[in-house]
């Protein structure tokens, strides 16, 4: 319970960066933090105490694994997070080359 709440607090720090920061790079960092928090929450929900990683090493072994489904979903999400972060950073780079600032308040004032 407390461990899940800690993940949510990490999520809220990312959301805080997105909502209140005025620097574009800080906003992208906020998105990355949210992605980490949610991936970690999924992996923690699928955890079972004292169980093994879901890889079958012996055919006759008793099936004592952690939940493989959250891990499969998170594997997809991590790769997608890389794609979105790269795209956001490229957009930030283009905005900087045009306005010479990362400050979103300044960018709104200039309006090109």
């Amino acid at each position: 319970m407390i461990i899940f709440l800690s993940c949510i607090i990490l999520f809220l720090i990312g959301l805080y960066a997105i909502v209140t920061k005025r620097n574009l790079i800080k906003i992208v960092i906020g998105f990355a933090l949210i992605e980490y928090a949610i991936n970690l929450l999924f992996a923690l929900v699928g955890f079972r105490r004292g169980m093994l990683a879901p890889i079958i090493t012996r055919v006759d072994m008793a099936h004592k694994f952690v939940d493989p489904i959250p891990q499969a979903l998170v594997l997809t999400a991590i790769v997608i997070a890389l794609g979105t972060t790269a795209l956001m950073l490229t957009v930030a780079l283009r905005i900087y080359s045009r306005y010479k600032t990362f400050d979103i308040a300044e960018i709104r004032k200039l309006k090109g």
Binding site: S6, Y16, Y36, A43, D67, P68, L75, G83, L87, D103
Partner: protein, 177 residues
């Protein structure tokens, strides 16, 4: 499992530094610290596949961040500026909605199974059918490449779409001055 709590405390501190520090390069390094702590936590919760992918993705992410910062600026001028009206409003509204969200989350977490006791309703079927059905020993690979292969196809679509977007934005040939 005290080390999980220690790593989470470390991640929360590093995340807060990443959002508040003035030097953007230092913020990105703090973000990398959070990412590698996530990779170590994946190993601790028995998810080696996730740890491998997380380390690779983390390195690539940091490289892209540093490349962008080297081409632009590494000082965050907005830190330490006088707070304006919209900024104060965003902080106040964020605090209000974060509080509401926390109350909703605490109610929702009561429904989840306690940490360390995952219910294996769907997964037990995958574990039973995994080796005889697909021939793969790694159940995570079985799920993403066989049982839920369409999901992976969608992932590849999103990834390549974002690559097309990055290439279209970054190339300067044919761009009007």
């Amino acid at each position: 499992m005290i080390e999980l709590y220690l790593f989470l405390a470390f991640m929360i501190i590093a995340a807060f530094i990443a959002t508040e520090i003035k030097d953007l390069l230092a913020a990105v390094i703090s973000l990398g610290a959070v990412g590698f702590a996530v990779a170590i936590m994946f190993i601790l919760v028995q998810a080696p596949d996730l740890a491998i992918v997380q380390i690779v993705v983390e390195v690539v992410t940091i490289v892209i961040f540093v490349a962008v910062i080297f081409r632009t600026t590494h000082i965050d001028e907005t830190i330490g500026k006088k707070l304006t009206g919209p900024h104060v409003f965003s902080i106040v509204s964020f605090s209000f909605f974060a509080l509401l969200f926390l109350i909703a989350v605490i109610n929702a977490l009561q429904e989840l199974p306690a940490f360390g006791n995952a219910t294996m309703k769907v997964a037990s079927e995958y574990i039973r059918l995994g080796l005889p059905g697909t021939g793969g020993a790694n159940l995570v690979a079985d799920v993403i490449l066989d049982f839920r292969a369409l999901d992976t196809l969608g992932e590849a679509t999103v990834l390549f779409t974002s690559v097309i977007g990055v290439v279209a934005l970054i190339r300067s040939v044919g761009r009007k001055k």
